[in-house]
Amino acid sequence: MENKLHLSVSPHIHRKRTTTGIMLDVIIALLPTTIAGVLIFGLRALAVIGVCVGTSVLSEVLFNLIIKKKQTVKDLSCIVTGLLLALNLPANAPLWQCAVGSVFAIIVVKCLFGGIGKNVVNPAITARVFMLVAFTSLATPAFPVDSTAGATPLVSETAPELTDLLLGKVGGAIGEVCSVALLIGGVYLLIRKVISWHIPVAFIGTVFIFSFLVKDFSLSAALVQVLSGGLLIGAIFMATDYTTSPETSLGKIVFGVGAGLITALIRFWGVYPEGVSFGILLMNILNPYICSLTARKLFGGGKKK
C-alpha cells in the first residue's frame, strides 16, 4: 500500500468548475434565444445555426490535426463561437457565407493566435464584422415569417412597439430579436456566476443614458435603443468573453462604458445602423491597456524600488 500515494503541491481540494462546465453554461443560457430564433424565423434559421456550429467544430478539429496539437473540442468553446456567430446572422444568410465566416472565426481569429484563451479579439464578433464588410447582402436582414414589416427597428421611420421588441416580432439577426429570451439567458449566467453584472450593466446603461440624452429625454425612445439591434446579445454574451475583457470589476465597467459609447456614436452618427459589434471589437483591442490601468493594487504596495 505504501509508496503508492499521490504527491502534489497544495491545494489538495478544488472547486468543481471547469472550462467545459463554463462553456456548457453559456450554451444552456443561449438555448432560449436559439429556440426563439428558430420559432420566429423558421427552419432556415436552424440551417444557419447548424452550418455555423458544424463548420466551427470541424475547423478546430482539422486545424489541431494539421498542426498536431491536442484536440480541444472537449472544452466546447468552438460550439459557443459557432452558435454566437449564427445568432448574430440573419436567417436568410447564404449558407456558404456562414461556413466561410465560421472558418474565419475559428482558424484566423482563434487558432492562429494560439487557441482558446490566446485570441486577442472575440472570434464571433470579428467574424461577424468581417462578413458584414465582405458580404453586402447581409446588410438587409431577414424578417419574422409572420411579419410584413419593412425595416429593422434601428432604421425604421416609425418607432416599434416595446412588446414586439421583447418578443422578437421585428427584423434582425436570429438571436438578437427576442429580448426576453436573451434576458433569461443573462439571468442564468449571473445566477451561475459565469459572468458578473459589471460589463452588461455598464454597456447597456451607457447606451440607455446616451440615447435618453440624444432623444430629447424620451424614456421610451431610449428603451427602444436598448432592446433593438444586437445590444443585449452583445452586452450579455459577447462583451463578457473572459479572454477579451478585463478581469477586475473596475476594468469591466470601463470596458462596458467604452463599448456603449462607441455603439451609441455609430448608431446615431455612423454609416452603419448598428454599432455593437464595432464597440466590442474596438474595446477588445484596448483590453490589454484597460487591464494594466485597472489592475488591483498590491497589499502593502508591493516592493519599494
Binding site: M1, L7, P11, G21
Partner: protein, 435 residues
C-alpha cells in the same frame, strides 16, 4: 486608502469540532527528525542504547535559529539514522523504542522566569515552534527589541477539516490564559487580541470568558473567509496594520502566536513539560472515524490511522495539515511532526488532480487573491522567462494560500507555478547580480 483583502469560501468540513478526544497510548517506535522547524537542524545529545523518558532532551537547538527536541516516549534509543522528510531532504532522525510504560522524566520542573531574557530562554527550551503549521521557532518572535503593541492570538483555523485549535480553545483555555499572564508580566504588550473565525461559536464563548478576566485581552470575531488565519491577513483584520513585502509582524508592533502554541507554552511555564505531544485532527474522505487524537510527536502516521480505526476506502493521498496549504506525504511511515495539526487521508477519487487546460483568462485568480497579485500576468511572465517582471506583479507577497488554484477552471497548478517562480527569481538574481 483601506485595502480590501479578498478571499474565498471553502467547504468547512469541521466534522471533528467539539468531539471527544482520545489519547493514544503506544508501544511503538517513534522517529524524531532533527528538522521539525524552520532553521538549523537540532543536534542529537544522546546515543544508541541510552534510556530516555518522556520529556528527556534528545537533541539541543542548533546554532542560530533552531529548536530543541525532547523524547515523546519512555524507552531506549535505537539509533540515529537519515530519513527523507516530506520536502525530499535527507535529515538525521533519532529513533526511540517505547517500553510502553510512559514514564515521565523526573528532572522536569517548571522554568524559573524572572525577566524578559529568562522568559525568552524558557520559550526556547520548551521546544515550541509555530504549531499552526509553519513551525517557526516561537522564541524568535518574542526576542525582539521593537515596541510591541499587540499580541495577536491566531485562533482563525480557516483551513477545512482541522479542529485541533478548536480543541485547544475549548479544553486548554486555562493554559492559554496562564501563558498570556506570564508573557504580559515580562514583555510590554499593550493589548492581546484573540482573532477567531465566526463559525466557531462555542470556542468564541470560551475565549470571551478568558478575555473577561483581563482588561488587556479582547476577542475579535472574524469573517469565515479563507485565508483569515494567514499572518498578514490576521494582523490586518485585527489591527488594520499592513505588513509590507519582506517585513515581519514585529515591524508593525505585533506578535502573532497560534493558540495551541500558546497553550503549550502555558503548560511548559506551569509544569516544565516541553512539547512532546500533539492533538491532531484525523479526517478526510478515506477515514473511517474522523476524530481528534492526542499523539506523541514522532509516531508514524500509519500507527495513528490504525489507532483511529483505519480507512473506509483505498487511500490516494495523505496530507500533513489542511487541504489548502498542507503537504502531501510520500509514505505513511513518515512521523507526526511538532507542527502537524492534522492528518488527512483522501480517497483515490479525491486525490486525482483535474486535467490542466489552457488559461481562459477568466480572472478568478486575480479577483480572489487576498493580496491583489496579478496571477495571470505573473504566470505569463514566468512562462516566458521574463523574471524581471515577477516582483512587479506581486510574487514577493505570495503566501501560497491557494485561493487562485482552488478556483481555476483550467485546473492550472498555480501555487506550484509560484513556488517555481520564486526559485527561478532567486537564481536569476544571483546570476545577474541583481539581489
Amino acid at each position: 486608502m483601506a485595502f480590501s483583502i479578498k478571499g474565498i469560501k471553502v467547504p468547512h468540513r469541521k466534522n471533528t469540532a467539539g468531539t471527544e478526544v482520545k489519547r493514544m497510548v503506544i508501544e511503538n517506535t517513534v522517529t524524531l527528525p532533527m528538522v521539525m522547524h524552520i532553521g538549523a537542524p537540532a543536534v542529537p545529545v544522546i546515543k544508541a542504547g541510552d534510556e530516555v523518558s518522556i520529556g528527556t532532551l534528545v537533541a539541543k537547538a542548533g546554532d542560530g535559529i533552531s529548536s530543541p527536541i525532547y523524547s515523546s516516549v519512555s524507552g531506549n534509543v535505537v539509533g540515529i539514522s537519515d530519513v527523507v522528510i516530506s520536502n525530499g531532504r535527507k535529515v538525521p532522525a533519532i529513533k526511540i523504542d517505547s517500553d510502553g510504560k510512559n514514564t515521565v522524566d523526573e528532572n522536569i520542573a517548571a522554568p524559573v522566569i524572572t525577566d524578559k531574557a529568562t522568559l525568552i530562554n524558557a520559550i526556547k527550551d520548551s521546544g515550541v515552534v509555530g504549531l499552526g503549521g509553519a513551525g517557526f521557532p516561537t522564541y524568535v518572535k518574542f526576542n525582539t527589541d521593537k515596541a510591541i503593541d499587540y499580541l495577536i492570538v491566531n485562533c482563525a483555523e480557516c483551513e477545512p477539516y482541522i479542529t485541533s485549535d478548536t480543541y485547544t480553545m475549548l479544553e486548554r483555555a486555562d493554559e492559554m490564559a496562564y501563558a498570556i499572564d506570564v508573557i504580559l508580566k515580562y514583555i510590554d504588550v499593550k493589548k492581546v487580541i484573540i482573532g477567531i473565525e465566526k463559525n466557531k461559536r462555542t470556542a468564541i464563548a470560551k475565549m470571551k470568558e478568558l478575555a473577561s478576566k483581563n482588561s488587556k485581552i479582547s476577542v475579535k470575531v472574524l469573517p469565515s473567509v479563507y485565508p483569515t488565519g494567514g499572518e498578514k491577513v490576521l494582523v490586518y483584520r485585527t489591527t488594520g496594520r499592513v505588513i509590507k513585502e519582506g517585513k515581519l509582524p514585529a515591524d508593525v508592533g505585533c506578535i502573532v502566536c497560534n493558540c495551541t502554541t500558546l497553550a503549550t507554552l502555558g503548560n511548559y511555564f506551569k509544569t516544565g513539560m516541553p512539547l512532546v505531544e500533539k492533538c491532531v485532527t484525523v479526517d478526510g474522505s478515506a477515514i473511517q472515524n474522523p476524530q481528534n487524537v492526542i499523539v506523541p510527536i514522532g509516531i508514524a502516521i500509519k500507527d495513528v490511522f490504525e489507532f483511529t480505526g483505519g480507512f473506509k476506502s483505498e487511500v490516494g493521498k495523505v496530507i500533513y495539515g489542511g487541504p489548502m496549504m498542507g503537504i502531501s506525504v510520500p509514505s505513511m511511515d513518515e512521523p507526526v511532526l511538532k507542527q502537524t495539526n492534522a492528518l488527512l487521508a483522501l480517497n483515490e477519487k479525491d486525490s486525482k488532480q483535474g486535467e490542466e487546460t489552457a488559461c481562459i483568462q477568466c480572472g478568478t485568480c486575480v479577483r480572489n487573491c487576498p493580496f491583489g497579485i496579478n496571477v495571470i500576468e505573473l504566470a505569463r511572465s514566468y512562462e516566458k522567462g521574463e523574471y524581471d517582471k515577477l516582483e512587479k506583479y506581486g510574487l514577493g507577497i505570495c503566501m501560497e494560500c491557494g485561493c487562485c488554484a482552488y478556483n481555476c477552471p483550467a485546473n492550472r497548478p498555480l501555487v506550484q507555478l509560484h513556488k517555481l517562480a520564486k526559485i527561478s527569481l532567486r537564481e536569476w538574481k544571483e546570476k545577474e547580480g541583481n539581489a
